[in-house]
Amino acid sequence: MSDESTPESGHRVRHQIPLLVWLVLVWNLLWGTWSWANLLGGVAVALAVTWLLPLPPVVGGSRVRPLPTLFFLGYFLVDLIRSGALVAWQTIRPRGIDRSAIITVQLRTDSDLLLTVLTESLTLVPGSMVIDLDRERRTLALHVLHVRDDADVEAQRTAVLAQEERVVRAFGSPEAVAALGGAEAGTGRDAR
C-alpha cells in the first residue's frame, strides 16, 4: 500500500540531490577554504534553502554521457571564442553590421531540461539569441546577427539543429535520442 507513495518521494529526493550538491559546492567555494565546518554548514544551508524555497522537480529522466558531454562542451567553447571574436570585429569595423534576421526552428526534443540547456547555450554563443520558445509546438524563435542572404539563414537553422543534437546526445534520455533519430529518418512525421 505504502509502495505507491515511495516511488514518488524517492523520485523527488533523487531529483533534489544534484541541487543539494550544487548548493553545498557554492557554499564551500564562497568560503574558499576546505573544512568540515564549512561542509556541514553548507549542508545545513542547502537543506534550509530547498525546504524554504522549493522548486518544481525537473521531470523527464536525464543522464550525463561523458564523451558526448565533452564533445558538447568543447564545441561550445570553440563556438564561443570564434563567434565572440567575430562579433567583436563587427563592432569595431567601419562598415558596421550586416542585416539581421529572426528565424524559427522546429525542434525535435520535448524535455524542459534539454530545452533549457539548448536555449542557454544558443543565447551564450554570440550572434544568436533566443527570443521566444513555443513550448507546445516546440518551435524556437531566435535573432541572428549578420545574415547576408537566405543561404545564411538556412545555415543558421542547421547549426541550431546540430547544437540540439549535441545537447540531446550529451544529456538526453534514451527516448530523447531515439526521437532525434526518428525525426531525422522521417521528416514528414513532425505533425503527430
Binding site: 567555494l29 574558499g32 567583436a88 569595431i92 539581421s100 529572426i102 542557454e120 539569441m129
Partner: protein, 147 residues
Amino acid sequence: MNELEMARDVVAVVLLLLGAFLCLTAGLGLLRFPDVLTRMHAGTKPQVLGVLLVMVGAAIRLQGWSATWMLLLVAAFQLLTAPVSAHMISRVAYRRRHVRRDRMLVDELTTGGAVRDRVYQGDEPADAPPEQPGTALEESRRRDGAR
C-alpha cells in the same frame, strides 16, 4: 624559476588585456548597433567571453586557491545569468516593437504566424512605428475619407 614566473605573468597580462578589449567592444557595440536586439548581442556576448578571459588571467596571476574558487563562481554565474537577462530584455523589446525592420532580412516570427492587426497590436509604446507604415497610412486615410 624566475623565468617561469615571468612567463606566467605575461600570459596573465595578455589574457587580462584581451578580456578588457572584448568588454570595450561590448560598449562600442552598444553605441554603434542600430536597435535593441542587435545591441543585446553586443552587450552580452563579447562581454561574457571578456569576463571569462579576465577571470582566467586573474586566476593565473593571483596567489592562493581561495581567490581562484571565487573567480570560478563568478564565471559560472556569469554563464548562467547573462543569457537569461539578454533573452528577457530582447523578448520585451520585440513585443513592444523596438525593432528596426528595415535592417532585418526575414522575420519568421511574424511571417510564420498570423499577425492580428497590421497597424497596432496594443502591446507597443505610444510612439512605436506601425508594423507596415504604407498600409497604416493608407488605412488611416481611408478612415478619414469615410468620415
